[in-house]
Every structure is written in C-alpha cells, then in structure tokens.
Amino acid sequence: MIDDPNIQHDSTGGGDDKYLYFGTGEPDPFISNLEQRLRPLRLTAPASGFAAARGGTRANRTLQIVAGMAAVALAALFLLIQKPSGPVPGPAAGGFKTPPASAPFYELTLVSGTASVDLRPHSKSGISMGLVPDRIQQFPVGGMLVVDNGGTVRVRINGSGELSNVGEVTVKGPASIELVESTAQLEKLHMYHGTMSARIAADAKPRLFQVTTPAGTAVDLGCIYEMHVDSEGAMELSVSVGRVAFEIAGRAVFVWSGSQCTARPGGHVTTPVDNGTTLAFREALQQYDLNQTRAAMDLLLKEARLHDAASLWHLIQTTRGESRSQVVARLAELSPPPAGVTIQAVTQSDVAAIEAWRVDIMGW
C-alpha cells in the first residue's frame, strides 16, 4: 500500500489513478491532453523503424550494426513463430496453436491514434512494433494487438482456407486483442478488452470466425456486429446484420439482426432483446434477468409483443416447471409452434422440438 496523499487526491486533472498508472479506464483530461501534445516527440516504430529514423548522422555506423542485429532478431523471431514447438500457455482457448507453415498473417492498418503489435507470447522478450499510418503491419498467430486510447486499427482477416478474405474487424482503443488461431476451420481472436466491429464475408462458413472474451465466445453465423468488452471482462454484443451465437458455460444464446445482449465472466448472460421492443418489455426483461421472481416473469409476459418472441424462446431454456409453462403458453399466443411441434414436447425439454420452434421464429 502506498501512503502518498497525491495518489488519493489527484489535483492535476481530477482523474483517478487507473488512467495515469495503467493507461486504461476513463481518460483523465489533463493527462490525455498532455499525451496528445507530446506525441510529436514519441519514438516511432521502435523495433523495425530504428534504422530508418536517422540517416547520415555521426551514428551512421551504429545504425547499420543495430539495424542488422534487429533484422537478425526479427528473422529469428519469425522462425520461432513458425517453429512447430509445443503449445504456449494462452487464453481461454487453452493454449496457442502453432500455425502451419502456410498460415497467413492478418493485416493491420492504423486508421488513427497509436497502436502496436506485441509478439511476447512467442518471443518472451518483449518485442513490440508500433504501427505506422499508411503502412500495413503483419499480425501473426500469437501476436497481441494493443490499440491505445483514441486509436483505431483495421484488421483484415486473411483466410487460410478457400476464402482469401474472411472479413474485416475494426478495433477501437483502448483495446487488447490477440490472434489465437488461423486455420481453414477456424479464425479465432481473443478480446481482452476494447471495442470492435466485425464485418464477415457473406460466403464465410458459419462458425469459421469466432471471438473469445472473458465472458464467453461470439460465434459468427454470417453477419455484421459490434462488441465491447470492458476491463472487467463484461461484454456487450449488438448485431446489425445477420446473426451471432454467443456461447457461454455450455449454453448458447442467439443474437439476431437488430438485437443485443450482455454477458459477464462467470456464466452470466442476459436474454437477447430486440432493439425495437417496447421500453416496458425491455425493463421487465432486465428485471427478470437480474432476479428471477414471479412478479418479474408476470410483467414481462404481459408486456411481450410479437417481436419479443425470440426473447421469450430463450426463456424456455432457463425456466422450469410452471414458469416454463407460462412462457411456452405466451410464446404460442405470439408465434404458434410450427407443424410437428407440440406444446407438450417443448415443455418436456424435447431438444428437437425447441430447436424447430426457434428456427420457425428466427428464420434460420
């Protein structure tokens, strides 16, 4: 514990310790103003740009030596990345996978602000490359993209399989994202925190592109979506076009076009809700997600309308007994089950019947 009155009471900008020390959280106006104004002095592209930074100076010879050594180191690093060694401990996926020799790199383009690619998981030595505007930077498997506060980076997902361009992700800082896997079967990022919008090619296979977060995994089923993960790992997912399955603790929720859901570590996920629903239903659903009381259930069933059918369908999975019967009955009023699906089968947890009803409601 540090006993320093300046830390308890920051008189410079009114912010707290987190932004000054960790560089995350709500930016302190005074600090971020200084960061912006001092940026012209920052050393750019430290790992690879050192040699190009100064030419024809008294240190020209040193420049050549160090540039040569940097090239050797980067070459060694590249070999290390390609080396088929054992797995390195990694994020939620359970370990980094060694990319095949033909594994493509993702491509990073700095749109605004500052960002860097960190290759520590493989190099163990802290090699970090700053992104430079108008220059594409490679992003290998195991690399960590760190986007500073106010920065934006575009990530082109070069596919390993039949599709050369799986899509594009735009990352807004502060953010930390790791490229976990890039194979013909799976393109996987892990988002520790930050904000991203993903635009996945319409002809990409469902489940090809996935983003793991501390709260769960967003599995692309063909769409455009936005996701935010805060520094506590809490996630907010909003789908603009298409659909996403968010998988958490052995369960999946389906987020459709024009809907959203939130989740936090520990298996907690809210019921997806349509953006166009009534305020009354939204509030009733929030209340039910927070504390599953009979009163909250009664209210949300009363407020449910036709475009809330997909939300109600999710409640079939999380309710039991009389509550489930009520949900099924109300859902049947709003969107009757398709031919071959009976109320009784659904109430008795017939997986095929429940899934058939979902497809009938959501259309996919």
């Binding site: 920051d10 560089g23 050192f50 030596i65 802290g126 520790y192 520094s231 506590e232």
Partner: protein
C-alpha cells in the same frame, strides 16, 4: 454496461516484460550474440529515448539513442549476467544525454528580434515547450513522466524496464504530474 473499476493485465503473471527470460538474454548478449543484443534494444529503446528526452534536446535524441546503444554494445561485458539491462541502460542514457548538454555550445547567433508570440505555433514547438517545463522537475520524475506521457508506457512497463518498484513508479507519476501541472500553469501552457 459495467463501469470498469480495475484493469486486469491480459498477460499471465511474470510474463509482462519478459523479466524471467532476461538473464538468459543478457548472458547471450555478453557472449557476443547480436540477436540477443537486438532483443535488448527492441525492449528498451523506448525507455532509453524517454530518458534522453528528459535531459537533452529533442533534436539530438535520435543520435543520442544510437550513441547509448553503441556504448552499451562496447561495454556489454561489464553488465553482470544476473543483472537486468534496464537500469544499466538508463544510466548510460543519462550520462550520454548530460554529456551532450554540457558539450553543446551556447548559441550566439540569435536573431535580434524574437517574436514574443507565434500564433501558428506548430505541434512540435508545443511539445518542446512542455518538455522544457518537464525538465525543471527532479530527474526521477521527469524520466518517469517522459516514459508515460511521451512513449505511452504503462506504470507496470516502466517498473519492469527501469527496475523501480511499481509503488515507486506510481508515486513518481503522481508527484511528477502535480509538479508538472504547476509548472505548466506558471508558464501559461495549460490548455
């Protein structure tokens, strides 16, 4: 959306700055392994740049950083294998920067009339003025602030590279920011 209350490092404990691996890298660098030296360069170049900026002219910083690594390369055998390179490189950077300031001739060819106010002051001029204000602070504060504000290093990164404890870095940042705020205010540079 939950309000963030604390930052959790995405890196497994002990791997934030590769501190566990550094003795092996230093040992290889001492034995003439240039790739190992280049690894040290990549890891510490931002810290060295910040230390140089905290003492010398920004216009000389690029050359001085090169000079620091030249000296380091020449004297790498004086670095003990069980030592981390950060404090050692910071010491070299401090000496190189101070030597450059001492050896710099005072400019006698200033123009007779110096404009008191330049409305179209460039971003670089503004950055230099802030840096000059920063240089009035004690060494440890100005270097730590340069690493945080200029190079964008986080507190844990600064601690990992300089060898300071996280607590010391925290105190230096807070006290330094307060002093810098007062100095910028005195110079009319607050925005």
């Amino acid at each position: 959306m939950n309000t963030p209350v604390s930052f959790r490092s995405p890196w497994p404990a002990g791997r934030v700055v590769g501190a566990n691996d550094e003795p092996a890298v230093v040992a290889r660098a001492r034995s003439g392994d240039r790739a190992a030296f280049a690894t040290l360069h990549a890891k510490y170049v931002n810290m060295v740049h910040a230390v140089v900026l905290a003492h010398a002219s920004p216009g000389d910083a690029g050359d001085l950083v090169q000079e620091v690594f030249t000296r380091a390369l020449t004297h790498i055998t004086t670095l003990r294998s069980d030592e981390t390179a950060g404090p050692w490189l910071a010491g070299i950077a401090r000496n190189v920067a101070r030597d450059s300031v001492r050896s710099r001739r005072p400019r006698a060819d200033l123009p007779e009339e110096i404009p008191a106010f330049t409305p179209d002051k460039s971003a670089m001029d503004d950055a230099r003025e802030i840096l000059e204000a920063m240089k009035t602070l004690p060494d440890t504060y100005r270097e730590t602030l340069a690493m945080r504000l200029v190079e964008g290093m986080t507190g844990p990164e600064i601690a990992g590279r300089t060898g300071m404890t996280p607590g010391s870095v925290r105190v230096h940042l807070h006290r330094g920011m307060k002093l810098l705020h007062d100095e910028l205010s005195r110079r009319g540079l607050l925005q």
